[in-house]
């Protein structure tokens, strides 16, 4: 049996750090290609259709960027949280809470001129997302209740709450058929930024937040505290970092980002709340964050990449008759390949000896 040992690299080579996400994507794409062959289609032709579907025209490119908008925000939510090793897997629920806040405040309760209304809705969405996470982070800090499980479980509760509101008190009486919320008032709707497409101001806003998060994480005291808590909480505590306060801030920032993803979808893409507002954007955020190595600027690119897979897979599915779930398989494989590449970036694999008679 071959024995091996992982030895930590003193310094990871730069080329390896930069190349690793691309290698991971390549491996994921090749593995998914095997599935395309199993589906009886030509993988090269299929990937060509996928790329055309995501970037082939002004319309499809705009659609990809529109899809990237919420994924960038949930990716930021995961990046902030995972930096501090605070495992917020509840971005899906926080997104819907942000969408609920948008519906509550944006459909006539508050009327402001557009220039104030849009920031107001984003603040309310961020507060809602943070608020949902608040009891869970307090449970973690006071009673050590594991946040992984509680955030996951709460996702289901929030979706059921949305379902209740949309079928009951918040159902738009004007909508026939599928339950949906009332439309966001004109002042609150995020304006289109590319004519005759669904690309809206939310994309610019999500990029703005990516830069803001980058600034917070790398240029401020709180950013350094977040990093130090993630690297070694005990040592950070010894060095005088207030753990309680730092984790609380991480949770509010992370929940806030995810909540704002709900705002971009409700006030931007759709204009009203629906039960299928998010086809798993919260979970996609985890993949986005991992692919970007938790770097907020990287999240913009990995967010667009993931969005292009989702948008392109729809077109590919129609053209090549390959199930559209291939997109989710590619994303999942990317996450695992990234983990694998991270191991090789940080560790050298040393083989030592081959045991006899084994």
């Amino acid at each position: 049996m071959i024995k091996f040992r992982l030895e930590e690299r003193a310094k990871s080579p730069y080329w390896l750090i930069i190349l690793s996400p691309f290698i991971a994507i390549l491996v994921a794409v090749i593995l998914a290609g095997i599935l395309i062959v199993l589906a009886g289609a030509n993988p090269f032709e299929s990937y060509y259709q996928l790329i055309i579907g995501a970037f082939g025209s002004k319309n499809s490119f705009a659609e990809t960027l529109a899809r990237a908008t919420p994924i960038i925000l949930t990716g930021l939510a995961a990046s902030i949280a995972f930096r501090a090793k605070f495992w917020n897997i509840g971005a899906e629920g926080q997104l819907y809470f942000g969408a609920l806040a948008t519906t509550l405040f944006g459909t006539g309760l508050v009327v402001l001129p557009s220039i104030l209304m849009i920031p107001f809705l984003f603040i309310m969405g961020a507060l809602a997302g943070g608020l949902l996470l608040l009891p869970l982070v307090l449970l973690k800090l006071y009673y050590k209740v594991d946040e992984v499980v509680t955030t996951l479980l709460l996702n289901f509760v929030v979706v059921l709450l949305v379902s209740y509101l949309l079928e009951g008190p918040w159902k738009d009486p004007m909508s026939l058929g599928w339950p949906q919320g009332k439309s966001v008032i004109d002042e609150g709707v995020l304006p289109q930024i590319l004519s005759k497409t669904r690309l809206h101001l939310g994309f610019i806003i999500s990029m703005f937040f990516a830069f803001s998060v980058w600034f917070i994480l790398s240029k401020t005291v709180i950013g350094y505290r977040i990093k130090s808590v993630g690297l070694n909480a005990a040592a950070a505590s010894h060095a005088g970092v207030p753990i309680f306060k730092t984790v609380l801030i991480v949770a509010l920032l992370s929940g806030g980002m995810a909540g704002m993803a709900g705002v971009t979808e409700t006030a931007g893409l759709k204009g009203y709340l629906t039960l299928d507002l998010s086809p798993g954007f919260g979970y996609a955020g985890i993949a986005v964050a991992m692919l970007a190595n938790l770097n907020p600027i990287g999240v913009i690119f990995s967010g667009v990449f993931l969005a292009s897979i989702y948008v392109g897979a729809d077109a590919m599915s129609r053209a090549m008759n390959v199930p559209t779930y291939l997109a989710d398989v590619i994303v999942a494989l990317t996450v695992l390949c990234i983990l694998l590449s991270l191991v090789f970036v940080h560790y050298k694999v040393l083989f030592f000896g081959v045991k006899k008679n084994d």
Binding site: G168, V331, L336
Partner: protein
């Protein structure tokens, strides 16, 4: 009001409790095995999903029901092995690996289902396990229909608990698994391969999770739906904490939980007009959170949980 109390005196309520508990029992015990060895397995939700799909599809394509269980067992073991390679041998983040496995297992399951059955508007059905009457016992009034008229799969799940209890408490492997999760250095010092012990635990545990998923499609229902696991895996993880990582307590926890779930379904029929059904559906998830808070005070995690073991490194 009296109707709400009468619910628990019907055999149907107890039979439903057992039926709801079975997939949870299998999944929770699977997770207990993984975590006792020091590996958090968040792949559980996806592994249950692909277990449900593969078990069902095997039967749909012509095999018998027991082969369906075996197929689920194998696919669960394969994903467990993948999880173990990442988290045990390579020491990758257990959280992210688990989420990645859940994403991969469920999406791969959906992809293959759509590939084999491209245009199914109504999900096709199989003939699932039928209840068998245990001689004599099944004829008892009340107790018979409540506990002794279940499907063979149900009795199998109970056997698994007994097996797990025996494995953990009376075998050298069980002891090694517990040591791998508490003090892997000491295990290594005895000349036992920590990697191998952890891998066995994760493969075995994941196989049980997949069988838990297959219970849904082969015994509780007769078809496979997307999203049919619906958070049962995450609930199982909460139950592991509630059960203090002990198989026998996992059985009790799952039964208690299933009892509350069976109760809410019946209470919903009585109070459906007053309280919207969504609030009843929220209960299992909220209860799981409450259970974790209750258990928090006495929670003592396996010491080496989440910590990758590296040869020649001291902790």
């Amino acid at each position: 009001m009296i109707e709400f109390i009468e619910i628990i005196f019907t055999a149907g309520f107890w039979a439903a409790t057992i039926r709801i508990a079975c997939p949870l029992i299998l999944a929770t015990i699977g997770e207990v095995l993984c975590e006792r060895a020091g590996v958090l397995n968040l792949g559980i939700e996806g592994i249950m999903s692909i277990g449900a799909m593969v078990g069902w599809m095997t039967v749909f394509l012509g095999a018998d029901l027991y082969t369906g269980i075996l197929a689920a067992l194998i696919i669960g073991g394969i994903f467990g092995l993948l999880h173990a390679i990442f988290t045990v041998y390579l020491g990758a983040s257990q959280h992210v690996t688990g989420i990645g496995i859940t994403m991969l297992a469920s999406s791969l399951g959906f992809f293959c289902f759509k590939l084999i059955l491209p245009a199914s508007t109504t999900p096709p059905k199989i003939k699932p396990f039928q209840p068998i009457d245990i001689p004599f016992l099944s004829e008892l009034p009340f107790l018979g229909p409540a506990f002794f008229q279940h499907t063979p799969f149900t009795y199998l799940a109970i056997l698994v608990v007994i097996f797990a209890f025996w494995l953990m408490n009376s075998t050298p492997l069980g002891l090694s698994i517990k040591m791998a999760g508490e003090n892997p250095m000491a295990l290594e010092a005895q000349g036992i391969d920590v990697f191998l012990v952890r891998t066995i635990a994760v493969v075995l545990g994941s196989a049980l999770m997949a069988v838990g998923g297959a219970y849904l499609t082969l015994s509780a229902f007769d078809a496979f739906y997307f999203g049919m696991i619906n958070g049962r895996g995450w609930i199982a993880i909460a139950l592991v904490i509630f059960a203090s990582w002990k198989p026998e307590r996992a059985l009790l926890g799952a039964l208690l939980f299933a009892g509350l779930d069976a109760y809410q379904v019946r209470a919903q029929q009585l109070a459906g007009a007053l309280i919207p059904y969504q609030f009843f559906l929220m209960l299992p998830f909220l209860l799981s959170i409450v259970a974790m808070v209750i258990a928090a005070k006495r929670t003592r995690y396996p010491k080496a949980l989440l910590i990758p073991f590296r040869r020649g490194e001291r902790h």
